[in-house]
Amino acid sequence: MRYICTCCGYIYDPEKGDPLNEIAAGTPFEDLPDAWVCPLCYAEQDSFDPLD
């Protein structure tokens, strides 16, 4: 499931991962490291909301 940052609108798509932060494609949102924050606005993970 994709998650959206409620602060800036960035969408974390597990199919793509987050190459900027060395998050491999295929990583579910739930498995992101605790330190991972929104790559655009740096909001923490509890600012993310399920998208679909």
Binding site: C8, P33, W36, D49, P50
Partner: protein, 815 residues
């Protein structure tokens, strides 16, 4: 069979041998939650079921309305008309104001139906089209006594309007009198509104007069309006008594919930008399109105009637809990009046209201209640307490209430977060001293002593505010304060508070992520178990990402249409809405998150609540001219020198010093501009504002305890300010020669699918506000009403500034 209606299966007489003709009202998304849910789920079979159920309970005609925000009436109405026509023996009443929808439905309906409705609200344009349709397709028509000046209140006005419409419909459009159903409307006599005491009398008199003067027409009434605002169980009795009186006066048809019409025989003589007193406004004096007598009477007689038990009426204690949790203020004062006969006011607050608010807090904590709904609950709480206050002994409680001082720290003008904490704490029964924004530590110390507070809560949005909190801890310590200090704000983190703030102060220093964390901390304080925030065992190093490749400074320098600064004022406010980041607005600022909802439930929340809210606020902001978008911007020659940017403006050199990332890739804004003695590059700057009016409105909403709208308007304002920045950045890209491709939208803006970047001062790439000094000297934004505070923050709050870099590699990053 003149004047009759017909379904596919039978003829129905408008004037029944035993009146009234019962018209079922539940197939209406605005009146029935169940029908609305079915409609929104595209469950048309379910919608039909609602019609069939009413038929089985005695409805002879079914009113069908499908007009609802987010739905397409033009496709829904004909579809359901066809379905209803095929299955219902009852007649059909097409409830729509759209002549196109009505026509499409009339074409499909095999019998003779009723159109609901015409009136003279618009002077007669709609009436003209609908009457022609009625004549052409052979339908009866409901006419409401409404004209340009609104709904007719007195019998004389109602009758006068009937005369006007009768004349038009019969003499001009050739409808037969038998085809007309006049609805003289009624208003509630259950609200205590002194101008409506005789609303029932006026309506009954109008019915009598209409029947006397135009014996051929039929009369119709939406009966249940008479008791709006009262408890459901009581409403049912009044509605039934009033219906009986209306039929006596000559009423032919009634729009009702057929299941809720009680035979008069089932109503005791005593019950009936109390209702009749209210309907006919009998024996009224200042201190003893029929309404007071009725409410007192039914609060004593609750549960006596078998009917009530059958329909699951709940005790007032449970009902008030539900009202708070649901944020439902309908009939609140009546309910509290009933409770006041059972408990002292203070006990209602402490034993019923406060526990209900705790439940609200718990639901929010579990992600089962969203912030906007919490605020609606708080509004109900506030209203309840305000209503009960006059029944409380003075200062009955102030002695033992926990006292909390709230302030936004020095140099910070943001107060939404602090005010949300105020709302939540106040409405959980605490005494809050909210001493405002930009409060220096000295004032906080003085006020904490003056009010003898038990806890201090500090707030601040800026990165700088976090630093100020850290620096002021020793000050509070030296001043000898011993009360716990709660800290909250966007730039704070648990570990920052634990590592940088806790060591400076002996008593507990506690990080609060939101208003409810604040509430939890206050409870822990009361229980004696509040402790300083501690860092989690192993704190991972936070990533601070940014582009990692080396910056290529061989980029070309765009040409621009002018050098220097310009002021822009002719911006259409409506345009800003198309640059809004709707996700950030709805899920972030407003708190309408999906959280634990299913995809379908969330879609429904959006279409039923959020979209209409957005449309309403947008309309209000535009209609009342609450937005005054203004921009001052410019292009200037520049070059970089290490971490600084040297900018030429008006033959003066301005220096901007930017911070550099401590860790790799060690980015700094200055790196995106060509460096060296002879280097020449271009930099853009802007300051934008949506003006002060919206801030005034938000302040007003907070003062008036309209918490929900306060959060909504404030959030919309902040996002519209960002939208204006987005819009102007786009304009500047176009002026620099790289306009956005067609079809660029919200998502592309979020991910910066354009050349270059803009960095706001006070934000992650440049947290320091020092850059505002040279910026304001160059752009002089005072001309558009934006100035700086002594701590270099912009006022009005809904303003934003940025440096615009055109370098293709420039993207957001954080220090």
């Amino acid at each position: 069979m003149i004047g009759d209606l017909a379904s596919l299966y039978q003829a129905i007489e408008l004037k029944q041998e035993i009146p009234p003709l019962l018209i079922g009202e539940r197939a209406n998304p605005n009146g029935s939650r169940k029908f609305r849910d079915l409609l929104l789920a595209d469950d048309f079979d379910g919608c039909l079921q609602v019609g069939l159920e009413q038929e089985s309970r005695g409805a002879q005609v079914i009113d069908l309305c499908v007009a609802y925000a987010g739905r397409d009436e033009k496709s829904d109405l004909p579809r359901l008309v066809e379905k209803f026509a095929g299955s219902l023996k009852a007649g059909l009443m097409i409830d729509s104001t759209d002549p196109d929808c009505i026509e499409a439905s009339l074409k499909l309906y095999p019998g003779r139906c009723v159109i609901n409705s015409i009136n003279l609200e618009d002077g007669g344009a709609n009436l003209d089209r609908i009457c022609r349709l009625a004549r052409r397709y052979g339908a009866a028509v409901v006419a409401l006594t409404i004209d340009e000046s609104g709904m007719a209140m007195t019998a004389a006005d109602k009758v006068e309007l009937v005369e006007r419409i009768y004349h038009l419909a019969v003499d001009q459009y050739g409808l037969r009198p038998q085809d007309l159903l006049f609805d003289p409307l009624t208003f509630t006599i259950g609200s205590g509104d002194t101008t409506l005491f005789d609303a029932g009398i006026q309506t009954l008199e109008a019915i009598r007069e209409i029947k006397r003067r135009w014996p051929d027409v039929a009369t119709l009434l939406g009966v249940s309006n008479i008791s709006f605002g009262l408890q459901p169980a009581v409403r049912k009795i009044i509605n039934s008594v009033f219906l009986h009186e209306a039929v006596e006066a000559g009423l032919d048809a009634a729009i009702v919930d057929a299941a809720k019409v009680m035979p008069l025989a089932q109503i005791s003589a005593e019950d009936r008399n109390v209702c009749l007193d209210l309907i006919y406004d009998r024996e009224r004096s200042e201190e003893d109105t029929p309404l007071m007598r009725l409410m007192a009477y039914f609060s004593d007689h609750q549960g006596e009637s078998e009917e009530e038990a059958e329909h699951g009426s709940v005790p007032a204690e449970e009902e008030i809990r539900r009202k708070l949790v649901r944020g439902d203020r309908d009939g609140l004062e009546d309910l509290l009046t009933i409770l006041l006969q059972r408990y002292p006011a203070l006990e209602i607050v402490n034993r019923l209201l406060v526990p209900a608010m705790r439940e609200v807090g718990d639901l929010f904590g579990r992600g089962e209640l969203l912030l906007p709904f919490v605020l609606q609950s708080a509004e109900v709480m506030k209203r309840s307490v305000a209503f009960l206050e006059e029944f409380m002994e003075q200062d009955a409680e102030s002695g033992k209430q926990t006292r909390i001082l709230l302030a936004t720290v020095q140099g910070d003008v943001h107060d939404i977060g602090k005010n949300l904490v105020d709302i939540i704490l106040t409405n959980n029964g605490y005494k809050v001293y909210n001493i405002g924004i930009k409060v220096p530590a000295e004032t906080i110390i003085a006020k904490a002593r003056e009010h003898e507070v038990d806890v201090i809560g500090l707030s601040g949005l800026l990165v700088k505010s976090a630093i100020i909190m850290q620096q002021s801890m020793p000050q509070y310590q030296e001043a000898g304060l011993t009360m716990p200090i709660l800290l909250g704000g966007a730039a704070l983190t648990r570990s920052f508070v634990a590592e940088s703030c806790v060591p400076g102060y002996t008593s507990p220093v506690v990080y609060c992520a939101d208003a409810f964390a604040g509430l939890k901390a206050i409870r822990e304080y009361e229980q004696g178990c509040l402790a300083s925030t501690r860092t989690a065992a192993a704190v991972p190093v936070r990533n601070r990402p940014g582009p990692k490749e080396a910056i290529d400074s061989s980029h070309d320098v765009p040409s621009v249409p002018f050098w220097g600064r310009r002021v822009v004022r002719d911006i259409d406010p409506e345009q800003l809405f198309s640059y809004l980041n709707r996700q950030a607005l709805i899920r972030g600022r407003w708190g309408y998150r999906r959280a634990k909802l299913s995809k379908e439930e969330y879609a429904r929340l959006l279409s039923e609540t959020v979209d209409p809210l957005y449309a309403r606020l947008k309309q209000r902001l535009l209609d009342e001219h609450l937005l005054q978008p203004q921009v001052v911007y410019g292009y200037f020659p520049c070059r970089s020198e290490a971490d600084s940017l040297l900018v030429n403006a008006d033959s003066e050199l301005f220096r901007f010093d930017f911070p550099r990332q401590v860790l790799a890739p060690n980015l700094c804004i200055a790196d995106y501009f060509k460096g060296g003695e002879s280097a020449q590059d271009l930099v853009g700057f802007f300051v934008v504002t949506i003006g002060e009016q919206l801030a005034e409105l938000t302040a007003e909403l907070f003062r008036d305890d309209q918490y929900h709208d306060y959060l909504m308007v404030h959030g919309l304002g902040v996002e519209l300010t960002d939208a204006l920045a987005e819009y102007w950045h786009q304009q500047m890209r176009a002026e620099m020669g790289f306009p956005d491709p067609q079809g660029q939208g919200e998502l592309e803006y979020v991910t910066q699918e354009y050349r270059g970047s803009r960095y706001g001062f006070g934000y992650p790439a440049c947290p320091d506000l020092e850059a505002h000094r040279p910026l304001f000297a160059m752009l002089r934004p005072e001309e558009i009403g934006v100035s700086l505070t002594e701590t270099l923050e912009m006022v009005p709050e809904m303003s934003t500034s940025a440096i615009v870099a055109h370098h293709p590699q420039a993207k957001y990053f954080a220090i």
